[in-house]
Symmetry: C2
Subunit: 240 residues, 2 copies
């Protein structure tokens, strides 16, 4: 009837290489061992079955606790989700912000670095990344807004790097907004299909996507009338 047919139990997931990643080092260090273990179990359940198909029992089962134990450490299931998504978003932002800092590097090197590292991060933490990208609908409106703010800031960082290269002539006269969106799209989509056990290591994929990013900013947009170099909209958003 109302059974949520979660196809994978926490026990299954713990051993499944498909859902292995490095998300356990994302959690706030001030948290105790048990809450962090709960987050690690939860992120796997949410990634595999979705937020709504995951029960509080599933999460606790993953760390050999019973249902009520979750509420010793978290006030609600939604807050477990929020903690995961907030942590994920803040970590990536801090990570790439540090990388984008050295203005001394060439625009191409800067783009290569930021794209490869952003990609690596999403590959290495693909289970958490999946939850961060595809389970936003489980958040309350307030929490959702909070996360959205971080996402916008992340976008701004990338757009600034691309716009710099266009401005100083390192890149072609591409559409900054569109091209940046495509680059991010590639990395974000990793959460949908990437597995650590596969044939691509996070580093290899990072290099590969950085190459693609460079190709995107180096090719001449075929003259087909369309694709203005920097339309008003995009220009308005660069360096806000």
């Amino acid at each position: 009837m109302a059974r949520r047919q979660a196809r994978f139990t926490a026990q299954d997931l713990a051993d499944d290489p498909r859902w292995q990643d490095h998300s356990s080092d994302l959690w706030n260090k001030t948290l105790g061992d048990v809450p962090r273990a709960l987050l690690t179990s939860a992120v796997r359940c949410f990634a595999a079955n979705g937020f709504h198909a995951t029960t509080t029992r599933d999460i606790c089962e993953g760390v050999n606790l019973t249902a009520g134990a979750l509420y010793v450490h978290f006030p609600s299931k939604e807050l477990v989700l929020f903690e995961i998504i907030r942590a994920g978003h803040q970590r990536v932002l801090a990570y790439i912000r540090d990388l984008a800092a050295p203005a001394s590097a060439s625009s191409a090197d800067q783009l290569r670095t930021i794209i490869s590292r952003y990609t690596e991060w999403h590959a290495r933490h693909h289970v958490a990344a999946r939850v961060c990208q595809y389970e936003l609908a489980g958040l309350t409106p307030q929490h959702y807004d909070e996360v959205l703010e971080i996402r916008h800031e992340t976008n701004r960082v990338f757009r600034r790097v691309v716009a710099r290269g266009v401005a100083d002539g390192s890149f072609k006269q591409i559409d900054v907004k569109r091209v940046t969106r495509a680059m991010l799209s590639l990395s974000i989509d990793l959460g949908r299909w990437y597995r650590l056990e596969g044939s691509d290591s996070p580093e290899q994929l990072g290099e590969f996507y950085a190459d693609l990013a460079l190709a995107m900013v180096s090719h001449d947009a075929p003259v087909r009338g369309a694709v203005p170099a920097l339309d008003g909209d995009a220009a308005a958003r660069v360096r806000p």
Copy 2:
């Protein structure tokens, strides 16, 4: 308690431009008007709130029917989901298969055509596409496998087009598997963010992504040791 806090009701969604698309012309023509209207309502609910956060009442409310009416036309909620996902996958496959057929066209033109149309399709049907890509976990294992088969066939079509260009010298000696995956990644990810009301029309986006695809197969992979032209794995999968 067990409230699934579906944030948007069917009534909200019907008017929201955010969830407007052309998915209503996907359904099997042999179905009656009511079942097709139910699918259209369901696809919006699933896309906005997720399969598990959507109640059968939500779906029916969207076409001004009461709860039980759904079971006059479909045996279960899961089958509604399956019908949507199956229809979506079959339509795209049939669509691009027709396009990839004319072997007379140049490899570049063939790639341009197939990528731009695939992208357009995902933009035009982004609500259904979102369900097709992100709600697979709601399917029973049997239905899931059935869908997976169609997905594999779709991938094969694209890989064949890219491999042909590499073989006849139109494209650089790129890694067919990886590059193809990246191209599909871009289009698939549309379901996550695209809106018909936005500033990019499906056609514009199709052209733009086709340009990017061409850039991907035209750039020289920087000699950094890595990225073999056609590794054993990829070679084995092209033309199976």
